[in-house]
Symmetry: C2
Subunit: 311 residues, 2 copies
């Protein structure tokens, strides 16, 4: 009887792997390096080799596996077809079929942000909810949308690409994507640092931020100390993110927004800057969504990945 | 064997009804008035009475019916629970159960805009596609989102309420919903007329629109005559709608936007004002969506309604 499953979260530097029982409890987890050479040709063989090593260690065979779930940093459609991939020079191919060339078990694949959202819905902050939007505030802004308990992959895997929805008409600097005024330019870690630098340049108002290293962390640390300039920056961040969440709520009407990623380490105080703006911008018939912090941290990817085969 | 089904589209003035074979072909269609008295207590009994009359006329019994699909002008969740209802003073109740109190056949219910979107996906402009966003440009702006062939109802039926996503920070007039800067304020029939009046007030540039009745129709008629002021208004409309669609594409990544409602009677020329702005605002990984005109007109509601039980 199939009792176990693996969850895999492929990143540009490391691959996270998890060994799970069929209820989705983590029995073991580890990492291997992502070898980017030769258009990433070694990545999938390396993953399966690592999984086979773990199977040998645990004394289990393919028959004991429910399957393998894989999260990938690129657009992945409902059938596991990879479109673009930002950090790995992979061309388009079907991920489950490619993995199954090395191991004969059921395989499912999804975009990493979507898969992490699925993990938070299944085992994290979204537990008990089926309509959840996860927002990852890291170097960039990622997102994953869960509708009726399923990942919204979209037509070509672009579902939940909320970092690049337009929220500001008057932006002069370009986002990494080439457009101007994307949510990512204000709500990511780099975006918050940019807002802070802009604010500091505006006048000479005293602030603990002056002269030091500016990051999302130093901004929110200063907010906690009551620094007035930092609070202004946090308000600005909150206005953009609240606006973005208000728009997203009008489209997909979730029960819950789950905020994760490095920026969310600031804690609950972060949400106090977002909620009032969300309420201002959201349509009343979609205003039921609550905004909470993610709970799974870096494990969201492997948990969501394994969830695709276990749930 | 069940061979037939009914589709019902409840509006604030009339109820549209359709009698269909099980492939979804319209065999007959008609309307009855919507009686709003007594908190709309007569509406559902009237509908079932009308359906029973048609069944008698056609010589069929309940066993011959696959079921009845119902579209309602209010928020309806996945299970057919009605939340708010704008034009009818209905309280919250479960629509399928309420209909089944009068007739013992399978019943499904959805929000009217969502149901019409489902109809366009099934039998109209979206035929052959499973990820479709329908946008209805009428007195207001409605929307319906179809993901993997299913209506995205959202957590409390607010999915696809795209008329009230925020697209303009500098608006001074309020939308009907109480907020400022909603898509509906620029892309609805009334919104286009408002943009036209604003533009005409700005200066004295000659235009055929001056002195006459201003409506979305007169604006687009003037556009077709090459009126420079009307073209400016259409550009403004196109910028807002293109921005809105670009944002929506970043959230749900559809293959197709289907544009319907009274404003869409302007024809293909309407799309030429929207497409360039859509391309400007949309994230590249979601830019695959095409924008087309709806095909089912006023029948989209009954076709989508019956599709919920037939498809």
């Amino acid at each position: 009887m199939s009792k176990y499953a693996f969850g895999v979260d492929i990143g540009g530097t490391t691959v996270k792997l998890g060994f799970f029982d069929k209820e989705g409890n983590i029995l073991d987890k580890w990492e291997i390096p992502t070898i980017l050479d030769n258009e990433g040709a070694a990545i999938l063989p390396d993953i399966v080799k690592s999984i086979r090593g773990k199977m040998e260690e645990k004394g289990i065979s393919e028959e004991d596996l429910v399957g393998i779930g894989v999260g990938v940093p690129g657009t992945v459609d409902k059938k596991g077809n990879l479109g673009g991939c930002a950090n790995i020079a992979w061309r388009s191919f079907n991920i489950p079929e490619a993995v199954q060339a090395y191991i004969n078990v059921p395989v499912k694949a999804g975009n990493d942000a979507n898969v992490a959202a699925f993990g938070e819905m299944w085992k994290g902050a979204g537990k008990g909810h089926e309509n959840v939007v996860a927002v990852t505030l890291g170097t960039g802004v990622g997102g994953g949308i869960i509708v009726e308990g399923e990942i919204l992959a979209g037509s070509i895997g672009g579902g939940g690409e909320i970092g690049h929805i337009h929220v500001e008409d008057n932006e002069t600097e370009s986002c990494g994507c080439g457009k101007k005024g994307c949510l990512e330019e204000y709500a990511s870690a780099t975006g918050i640092a940019r807002l802070a630098r802009r604010r500091l340049e505006k006048d000479d108002k005293p602030s603990v931020l002056r002269g030091g290293h500016i990051s999302a962390k130093t901004v929110f640390d200063a907010v906690k100390e009551g620094d007035a300039v930092a609070i202004e920056v946090a308000e600005e961040f909150g206005r953009y993110l609240g606006k973005g969440l208000g728009i997203i709520a009008g489209v997909v009407n979730p029960e819950l927004f789950v905020i994760g990623g490095g920026v969310s380490k600031a804690g609950e105080i972060l949400l106090t800057f977002v909620e009032p703006w969300f309420k201002k911008y959201v349509y009343r018939e979609c205003a039921n969504a609550r905004i909470v912090l993610a709970q799974l941290g870096n494990d969201a990817g492997i948990i969501g990945a394994v969830g695709m085969v276990l749930r």
